[in-house]
Each structure stands twice: as structure tokens, then as C-alpha cells.
């Protein structure tokens, strides 16, 4: 039975990495939001499974928060912002999909090597989950760095958060208050970003970062 427990936990963590790759692959905003919702759903399942095998009922709450906020509320809200601001629904990329996937592979390899070497004596289940979590964090960062659209940067940031939550649950012992504070900070950040996007759009008629770059001021 222990083997199956390991395997399901790994499977869910691996699926999270897979969905991060799928987010990198998308070139349309609505599809990206759907992928992000899937990302949050898989995270919720993973946290729920960890709650089951660790016998830690407060993690069920974490899973529920992830499910409600990140899988439902935030994607719906972002969807509405896109419609209201009339943002272009195609994602512009700095590097092509193929190169982004190659870089993603390299990042996953890097995080596997780092995590598995550094934690050589730790519990095998936690080690590999941490390796996957670091991969998700790095892939979220890659997404933020290689996409020009502000909404896709938000999604990248959220995926990064998901990776951190996965790491924290895998390491056994994240108190609920930390999770609540993280959730609130996300909410606040999200509201602020939403307001800013609205103002930027009002002012400059676009949220494309490259176009906004022109208004930054004198180049040194």
C-alpha cells in the first residue's frame, strides 16, 4: 500500500509539472486561463491527498481554498477583466514554444539535480515532491519572463505560488495561518494589479509591455 501512496503523490506532483508545461504551450489567453484553473485543481487534489496520507485535516482547508479561490474565482475574474479591458487574446512570446519547452526541460533537470543531491538523507517521498515543486516554481518564473502579456504574467506568478504551496505541504507541517495569510496577500496583490491594469489601459490603450516600455522615461 505504501508503494501506491508514493505513486499517487508522485503522479499528482508530476501532473502539476505537466500542466505547467501545458501553460507554456498555450498561445491563446482563454486557453491559458483554463490551464491555470486545471493547475489549481491538480494542486487542490495533491494537497488533499497529502492531507489524507499525513492525517493532517487542516490541509483539507488549504485544498479547499486552492480549489475555490484559484481554480474558480480568480480565473473567472481574470476572464471578466480581459473582456472589459478588451485585451488582445493572443499571447505574444519572446521565445518560441519549442525553445520555451527546451528551457523548461533544462529547468526541470536542474531542479531535480539540485533537490535530489541536497536532500540526500531525507524522506524519499518528500524529496521527490520537493523536486517537482521547485520545477513548478521555475517554470512559473520562465512563464513570467518569456511572455509579454500582463495577464500571462499574472498566471505565471500564480503558478509559482502553487509550486510553493506544493512544496510546503510536501514538507509536512505548514500551519493554517500561514496559508491564510498567503491567500490574502494573493487576493490583495490581485486587486491591486487589477486596478493598475485598468488605469494603464485607460491611459495608454494597451497593456502590452513592450509598447508600455516606450513611456518609461529617459534611457540612461
Amino acid at each position: 500500500m505504501r508503494g501506491l501512496t508514493f505513486d499517487i503523490a508522485h503522479l499528482l506532483a508530476g501532473t502539476l509539472v505537466l500542466v505547467s508545461f501545458l501553460e507554456l504551450y498555450q498561445d491563446r489567453l482563454y486557453a491559458l486561463l483554463n490551464m491555470f484553473a486545471l493547475h489549481a485543481l491538480v494542486l487542490a487534489l495533491s494537497v488533499a491527498w497529502q492531507a489524507y496520507i499525513q492525517n493532517a485535516p487542516h490541509l483539507y482547508v488549504t485544498a479547499a481554498i486552492a480549489l475555490v479561490f484559484k481554480a474558480i474565482i480568480i480565473p473567472v475574474a481574470l476572464h471578466r477583466i480581459i473582456v472589459r479591458l478588451g485585451i488582445r487574446r493572443e499571447i505574444e512570446k519572446v521565445v518560441g514554444v519549442g525553445s520555451a519547452m527546451l528551457l523548461g526541460m533544462g529547468l526541470v533537470a536542474l531542479s531535480m539535480v539540485v533537490m535530489l543531491r541536497v536532500t540526500a538523507e531525507a524522506d524519499p517521498l518528500a524529496r521527490e515532491d520537493l523536486a517537482f515543486a521547485l520545477s513548478v516554481v521555475l517554470l512559473g518564473l520562465l512563464m513570467m519572463v518569456t511572455r509579454r502579456n500582463a495577464v500571462s504574467q499574472i498566471v505565471g506568478f500564480m503558478s509559482l505560488e502553487n509550486g510553493l504551496v506544493l512544496a510546503a505541504t510536501g514538507a509536512k507541517g505548514m500551519p493554517l495561518v500561514v496559508e491564510i495569510s498567503i491567500a490574502f496577500s494573493i487576493l490583495i496583490a490581485f486587486i491591486v494589479i487589477g486596478i493598475f491594469l485598468f488605469r494603464i489601459r485607460e491611459r495608454f490603450d494597451t497593456v502590452d509591455l513592450q509598447a508600455l516600455d516606450r513611456f518609461r522615461g529617459e534611457r540612461g
Binding site: G96, G98, S99, A109, V113, R117
Partner: protein
């Protein structure tokens, strides 16, 4: 034994000397190539006898030539015998081909004397047992092949090709010189026997490996030292191109194997990472370059680069396994690499012979001016097809066997403990698989655009079949491709003594496996039976043909091809080489070569044709060679001033040098 081989080489040199004087005689070509053929066959026989263990190996000889206190050492052991066999198989076939092809040579004086010298040089390199003989023979080989490259010196590209080749060859020889210097150490024991037992520090062995990689790798064609290969190989006459691509690159591989597996002692594990990484990059880059070409011989030359990459991947795996003490796995990897050495020399020579036949039949090397040759030159087309199928690693031919063995070796690598290898080997495996798939694409293009379709120019319409001797050489190699694919166990067992000597173990004896299968590790793990696959394919095809012709219809009629209602008589509407490669160019080339396509459309009403240009940047050249060439040019310009100094200034230079040396003597502790 080795003295017999040396006698053969000496005959070749003598032929070269005589040909220097009588090259323009009427039957000179027949005499020279005939002697080369006979001597190569004799050397091949000697090598095979040594390899199969009929004679005692290793057989050594020391001749009082060269440096007085060193003499010239020669040795024929299992590894030398294998490479001698490869060299002379290629040489014999090329000589047979040249007996027919040589009649189109319009400057025999520039080709006939150097050809036997080239063959002799290659054979002596493989037989050499001390550093001096090795280097002399290596230079001899380089210089004679350079002379052959610039044989048609009226063509401007050939002269430039020869220039680049000469620089790269000299650079490679310099690296090898330093390698042997470091190996011999301060005592100066240059014979390989003396070097073999020596122990060196870790940094010294690391530098030896790097220098050996540079020296042997530049001759073999490792990226980034490959730039001379696609310039020089096409420039030479076709039988020489076949030898340079198929055989001389293998002599370079021999040099690397001899130094790194035999002379240097136990390897450090991280060397394998360097070799693996270089091999993987070479394989992928080589085939991507080849895909962008539309000159048939240049495509084949870039393809040689890819196959050298595959060989070095096998060698890197063998090094990794040897360094970690897994001798049985190292034997598998090394066998895969050496088998690919043999296979590649066979099918690459075959393809170059085919390209040479096409060149003499049509006068064109550019695929975009050919087409429809399968109707005009059916036999050449058939053997070229066999060569293309073999090089694309299609079962049941021989290319598949060596690739299969390399994959089996990669599947053993998770047992390697080091992290760097754990990350590198899957990536190299993916690169290998990618280059294999792209190679098939490349050869569909090469065969399809050249031989299939309709003729694009009058030259292609007027092509005639090649002469019988050339065809004989090509058919022989095509048959050899099939035999090596169907009965690979024989070749693997023949390689075993060489592998045993280098890594200390060998693959399981293939002769004892049932049904002529090959078994890389154990029968429970995996096996492959080329003969059965071939028999099944033939049976199913014949059965289907017979059943359909008996039971269903066998009627046939000819009609114009489907043209969607717009009859097009012009063969210019069919796909060209660059249009065939366009999807691949867009997927891979836009990243690797910054490939861009430009279309210039004339304004409406203007009757000029539109112009379509493809722009490719060779990133290796731009990043590595152009800056170096620029720096050398800059320095040379500055130093030019030294020519125009006054006498007083020259004297002051001498005075300054003298004072500086005295200072050094004073300060030196």
C-alpha cells in the same frame, strides 16, 4: 605480417613516384588504379587474416628509417587490423570505381600521382607504432589529399577549399604533435610501447585528451572544427571524396581511439561528458546543415559530420562505462561505435560513387538542376537507393544495426553513478534520435529530388548510365550493406578482439546465438534478427503481390498525372530541394541558422519575375572563425610595419632581444 603490409604500402609509394613522371601516358590510369586495386585487396586480405586470428597478433617490426636513435616502429594488432581492413576495403572499391570513372578526368597529372600516395599514407598511419611515424604518415595523408582537393584548380571554390583544408590540417597536426609530446614526457620515449605503461598527473591527462580531441576531431569533422569538410570533400574528384569522407575520417577516429583508449591509461569519468556532448552536438548540427544544402556532394559531406557525431557518442559512452569499471557495457558501446565506423565507410563511399556517376552523366552537382534520373540511369538509381536506405538506418540494412546497438548502450547508462552523466545521456539520446529522423528526411530529399520526378534541365534529360566497372564497385558495396544488415553477428564477432584489447571485455559471442540473431547483453533483454526480418518482409511482399495478381486484377494503363484541371508541362513546378526542406528549415533552421526567406515581388504591371531568396548564417563560422581570421588579419597588418624599418631600428630589435635574454638568465633561479 606487418612487413607484408608495409611492403604493400611501399609498392603504393613507388607507384606514386612512377606516376609522377608518366601520368599523361595513354594507359597510365589503368595501370595506376589497377595496381592500387590489387595492393588494396592484398592489404585487405592481410588485415582480415590478422583480425580473424589466423596469424599471431600483434606482429611488430622496427625499421631503421627516420630518426636514428628511434627507428620506425610498426605494429599490427587487432585494432590496427580492423582499421586497416576498413581503409583498404574503401580503397579497393574506390580504385575499382576510378578505373571506370577516371576516364572523365581531364587533368590526370594532378590526380594520378597523389592517389596511391594517399592510400599509402592512410595505411601507414594505422600501422604506426611510434609517434614520429604516426605523425609523418598523418601529414603525408593530409598533404596528398590536399593535392587531390586542389586538382581542379581552375575552379575558384576548390582553391579556397584547399586553403581552408590546409590550415585546419596543419592546426590538427600541431595539436597531435603536442599530444604526443605530453604523452612521451620529458624523457622522450616516443614509441607507443614506452608510452603505454606511463603514468601522468590528472591535469596532464586532461590536456592530452583535449589536444587529442582537437587534433583527431578536426580531421574527423567534430563541430566546431568541421568547417573544412564540406568545402574540401566536394572539391576533390568523386572517388577521392569517397575516400576522404568514408575512410580518412575513420583514420582520424582510429587516432582518437588509439590515444584515448590505449595509450593514455585509465580515463577520468568526466572525459566522457566532453566526448558525449561534442558527439551529440556534432550529430544534430551535421544533419541540420545537410538538410539546408542543395549541392549533392556537399550534402553528403555534411552528413559525414553527423555520422562522426554518432561514432563519438558511442565512444563517449564506452569511455564512461570504462571509467566506472563496467567493462561489459563499455564493450557494447565500443562495438557499436566501431561497427558504425565500418558501416559508414561502406554506405558513404557508395553514395559518393553514386554522386560521382551523376556528376559525370549530367555535369551537374546541384540537385535543383537534376531530376528524373531513375529513368535514364536505373542501375545507379537502384544502388543509390540502397545507400540512402542504409544511411537512414532502415531495417534490414546495416545502418540500423549499429544504431540499434548504440541505443542499447544508452539504455544501460542509468547504472552510471555520476549526476552529470545522468543528465547528459538522456539529452544525447534525444539528439541521436532526432538526427536519425532528420537523416531519413535528408535522404528522401537527396534521392527524391535527384532521381525521381521529372528532369529539370536538358542536362538531366540527356544523362546516360555509368560504365560497368563503376557500377560493379557500387553493386558490391550495396550487397555488402545488405549482408552486414542481415548477418551482423559475423561482423560483431570479428570486432571482438579489437574491443577486448581496448576495454578488457567483449560482447557475448554472436556465433553461438540461435538463428543468427544478435544479442547485445543477454537474450532475455533484447535481440534482433536481421535475417528473419528480411525474410519476413520479402515473403509478405511476394505473397501479397502473387495473391493480388492471381486473385484480383493485374491490368495497368498509363495516363497523364493529376493536375487539378491545369495541365502543367513545365517541370519547374515540381518540388525543388529547398522547397522540400522548407518546413524543416522553418522549424529548425530559423533557430539554428537564423534562416530567413525573402520574397521580392515586382509591382503590379511589371513583367519581371519575383525573386525568392533564402538567407542562412553559419553560426559556427561567424562566432569562431570569422573573429579569429579578423584578429589574425589585424595582427598581420600591424606586424607588416616590421618590414619597413630602418637598419638602425633592426639593430635595436636585435639588441633588445639580446638584453632581454640576458635578463631572463640573470633572474632565473
Amino acid at each position: 605480417m606487418v612487413l607484408l603490409a608495409l611492403a604493400g604500402a611501399a609498392t603504393l609509394i613507388a607507384t606514386a613516384a612512377v606516376a609522377l613522371m608518366f601520368a599523361d601516358a595513354a594507359r597510365a590510369r589503368h595501370v595506376v588504379y589497377g595496381i592500387c586495386l590489387i595492393v588494396s585487396l592484398a592489404l585487405l586480405l592481410i588485415a582480415l587474416l590478422a583480425l580473424l586470428g589466423i596469424y599471431d597478433t600483434p606482429s611488430v617490426a622496427t625499421l631503421p628509417l627516420g630518426i636514428p636513435w628511434l627507428g620506425a616502429h610498426f605494429r599490427l594488432d587487432a585494432l590496427s587490423a580492423f582499421f586497416l581492413a576498413v581503409v583498404n576495403l574503401g580503397a579497393a572499391a574506390a580504385s575499382l570505381f576510378a578505373l571506370g570513372y577516371g576516364r572523365h578526368e581531364h587533368a590526370p597529372r594532378r590526380v594520378l600521382p597523389f592517389y596511391p600516395a594517399f592510400l599509402a599514407g592512410m595505411s601507414i598511419v594505422v600501422l604506426a607504432d611510434d609517434a614520429f611515424t604516426f605523425l609523418v604518415a598523418w601529414e603525408f595523408m593530409s598533404l596528398s589529399s590536399w593535392a587531390l582537393v586542389v586538382a581542379h584548380h581552375r575552379v575558384v571554390e576548390n582553391v579556397r577549399a584547399g586553403y581552408v583544408y590546409l590550415i585546419m590540417a596543419s592546426f590538427g597536426t600541431l595539436a597531435l604533435l603536442l599530444t604526443f609530446g605530453l604523452l612521451a614526457g620529458p624523457d622522450g620515449g616516443y614509441a607507443f610501447g614506452d608510452i603505454r605503461g606511463g603514468h601522468h598527473s590528472a591535469t596532464l591527462t586532461a590536456s592530452i585528451l583535449i589536444l587529442a580531441l582537437i587534433g583527431a576531431g578536426s580531421k574527423a569533422g567534430l563541430v566546431p572544427l568541421h568547417v573544412w569538410l564540406p568545402l574540401a570533400h566536394p572539391a576533390a574528384p568523386s572517388h577521392v571524396s569517397a575516400l576522404m569522407s568514408g575512410v580518412m575520417t575513420k583514420v582520424a577516429v582510429y587516432g582518437f581511439v588509439r590515444i584515448v583508449f590505449d595509450l593514455i591509461g585509465t580515463p577520468a569519468w568526466w572525459w566522457s561528458m566532453v566526448v558525449l556532448a561534442l558527439g551529440g552536438v556534432t550529430a544534430a548540427m551535421g544533419v541540420l546543415y545537410a538538410l539546408m544544402q542543395h549541392d549533392l556532394k556537399r550534402l553528403l559531406a555534411y552528413h559525414t559530420v553527423e555520422n562522426i557525431g554518432i561514432i563519438f557518442i558511442g565512444l563517449g559512452l564506452a569511455l564512461a562505462f570504462k571509467a566506472h569499471g563496467m567493462a561489459w557495457a563499455a564493450a557494447l558501446a565500443l562495438t557499436a561505435a566501431l561497427l558504425h565506423v565500418f558501416n559508414h565507410s561502406v554506405f558513404k563511399s557508395l553514395l559518393f560513387f553514386g554522386a560521382g556517376s551523376v556528376l559525370t552523366a549530367t555535369g551537374e552537382r546541384d540537385m535543383e538542376h537534376l531530376g528524373g534520373l531513375i529513368h535514364r540511369m536505373p542501375q545507379t538509381a537502384f544502388v543509390f537507393l540502397v545507400g540512402c536506405a542504409a544511411i537512414s538506418a532502415l531495417p534490414p540494412l546495416n545502418g540500423f544495426v549499429s544504431e540499434w546497438l548504440t541505443f542499447q548502450a544508452i539504455l544501460l547508462s542509468p547504472q552510471l553513478p555520476s549526476w552529470g552523466l545522468k543528465l547528459l545521456v538522456p539529452a544525447v539520446g534525444a539528439l541521436l534520435a532526432l538526427s536519425a529522423a532528420l537523416a531519413a528526411a535528408c535522404f528522401v530529399k537527396a534521392f527524391g529530388v535527384t532521381f525521381l520526378g521529372r528532369a529539370r534541365t536538358p542536362a538531366a534529360e540527356r544523362a546516360r548510365e555509368t560504365d560497368r566497372l563503376s557500377l560493379a564497385a557500387m553493386f558490391f558495396f550495396a550487397a555488402l550493406c545488405l549482408v552486414a544488415g542481415i548477418l551482423p553477428g559475423i561482423f560483431i564477432d570479428a570486432l571482438a578482439p579489437a574491443v577486448q584489447g581496448l576495454v578488457g571485455d567483449r560482447m557475448p559471442v554472436q556465433g553461438s546465438v540461435d538463428w543468427l540473431s544478435i544479442v547485445p547483453i543477454a537474450e532475455s533483454r533484447s535481440s534482433y534478427n536481421g535475417l528473419l526480418v528480411f525474410v519476413f518482409m520479402v515473403l509478405s511482399g511476394v505473397l501479397a503481390a502473387w495473391a493480388i495478381h492471381r486473385l484480383a486484377s493485374d491490368k495497368l494503363r498509363r495516363a497523364p498525372p493529376w493536375d487539378c484541371g491545369y495541365p502543367d508541362a513545365s517541370p519547374a513546378t515540381q518540388y525543388t530541394a529547398s522547397s522540400f526542406a522548407q518546413p524543416l528549415r522553418r522549424v529548425f533552421g530559423s533557430v539554428v541558422f537564423r534562416a530567413r526567406e525573402h520574397v521580392e515581388m515586382p509591382p503590379p504591371g511589371d513583367a519581371r519575375p519575383a525573386r525568392f531568396t533564402v538567407e542562412l548564417h553559419d553560426l559556427v563560422w561567424d562566432a569562431l572563425y570569422a573573429p579569429i581570421a579578423g584578429a589574425i588579419g589585424f595582427a598581420a597588418d600591424r606586424l607588416n610595419h616590421l618590414q619597413f624599418l630602418t637598419i638602425r631600428q633592426f639593430l635595436s630589435l636585435v639588441f633588445a632581444a639580446l638584453v632581454l635574454l640576458l635578463l631572463v638568465l640573470a633572474i632565473w633561479p
